[in-house]
Assembly symmetry: C2
Homo-oligomer: 211 residues x 2
């Protein structure tokens, strides 16, 4: 870019950029943004403290990047999961499952994107807020769709949506991969609970079409 003849950038540069973000995500998740120093991040990435400022203008910008890209990825996963759903319960279940899988597989990222937002600048907080709103809408729209068809029975879609999201995001706080449950078990249980919250139990037999 700056005038060299070689046009294949050395891999170490992008690797360093990425390692900084990875290290920051882990530290922000475990100790919190303000308890994490730029030395923590840089040394975990195998670099000097000053090297961080070559790649990112400030510690807060690193946080912003983590939150924004993380939530955009989460939203994308949810949208993809909902494609091809056959009915509201199927759609809500798919989205819930994807939500749980993502939170179980990206616990550090999820914790940062959910619990460190108060450290963002007002401008960055606005952007992240919109990401969160889209995710919220994704759940609520599925919920309201089923309420329209009679597949669900929900007294308040907003509060129910909050509860669904609370249950799911908190998976990132209590789930440990090396423990009692697999990611699939957690996701299955979560999806079942979401459908219970939606009041989606068709009688008790299970799959029989409603007559």
């Amino acid at each position: 870019m700056t005038g060299g003849l070689a046009d294949s950038p050395p891999d170490t540069e992008v690797a360093n950029r990425d390692r900084l973000v990875t290290a920051a995500t882990e530290s922000f998740a475990s100790k919190g943004f303000h308890a994490t120093t730029t030395r923590d991040i840089s040394s975990a990435a195998g670099m000097s403290q000053a090297a961080l400022y070559v790649h990112y203008p400030s510690k807060e910008e690193v946080l912003y990047l983590i939150c924004r890209t993380g939530l955009e990825e989460l939203h994308s996963v949810m949208v993809v999961a909902s494609q091809g759903a056959t009915d509201p319960a199927d759609g809500l279940g798919r989205v819930a499952r994807a939500f749980a899988v993502w939170h179980a597989e990206h616990t550090a990222l999820a914790k940062v994107a959910n619990y460190e937002l108060s450290a963002l600048t007002p401008e960055h907080w606005q952007v992240v807020r919109e990401c969160r709103h889209r995710i919220e809408l994704c759940f609520r729209e599925h919920l309201q769709q089923g309420m329209g068809t009679g597949a669900f029975s929900v007294s308040d879609a907003h509060m129910t949506t909050f509860s669904i999201i609370s249950m799911g995001t908190d998976i990132a706080r209590w789930y440990r991969p090396d423990r009692t449950w697999t990611v699939d078990q957690v996701a299955d249980h979560y999806a079942a609970m979401v459908l219970r919250l939606a009041g989606a139990e068709h009688g008790r037999g299970g799959d029989e079409p409603q007559r």
Copy 2:
């Protein structure tokens, strides 16, 4: 205590102690422990920065006091609420209701006691951890009791307990008193959702005894 003749302590002393804790709770909740300075706390309480150290040995001790007393109070509220329950569903519903009311009425305290724990010393964290465990047990015992009698239908008591607590604690993050819902509405909705998670719907009629 220190030798004075008067034995009625001036009210301002206890008031100052309390105001420091109140101010710290608010600031820890909104900005986080590490983003809060001792000057923030003291000035919000109307005192100089050094005055904090007359009443508490360190900022971390203030956090510890807030978390411990807060969680003990919450547990106490839950125990009292469960007294006089007629059956498992009634008991779980009462505990859930109390849990929701407390979180809606003490949003700052609840946020600190749930999301600032990583700033505690290892020793203090152990104590707070036990408080949290008792609260968790309170829910899980009611759940398992109903599973024993057949009143509830739950595939995994531990995961369901986590979800119940996640839904409830997160009320402190989204509930605003001056908004759409009253505390009672939130508590009613939460209790109903908890019973859904427990699978406590007896058929569909409601109260009829199971035959």
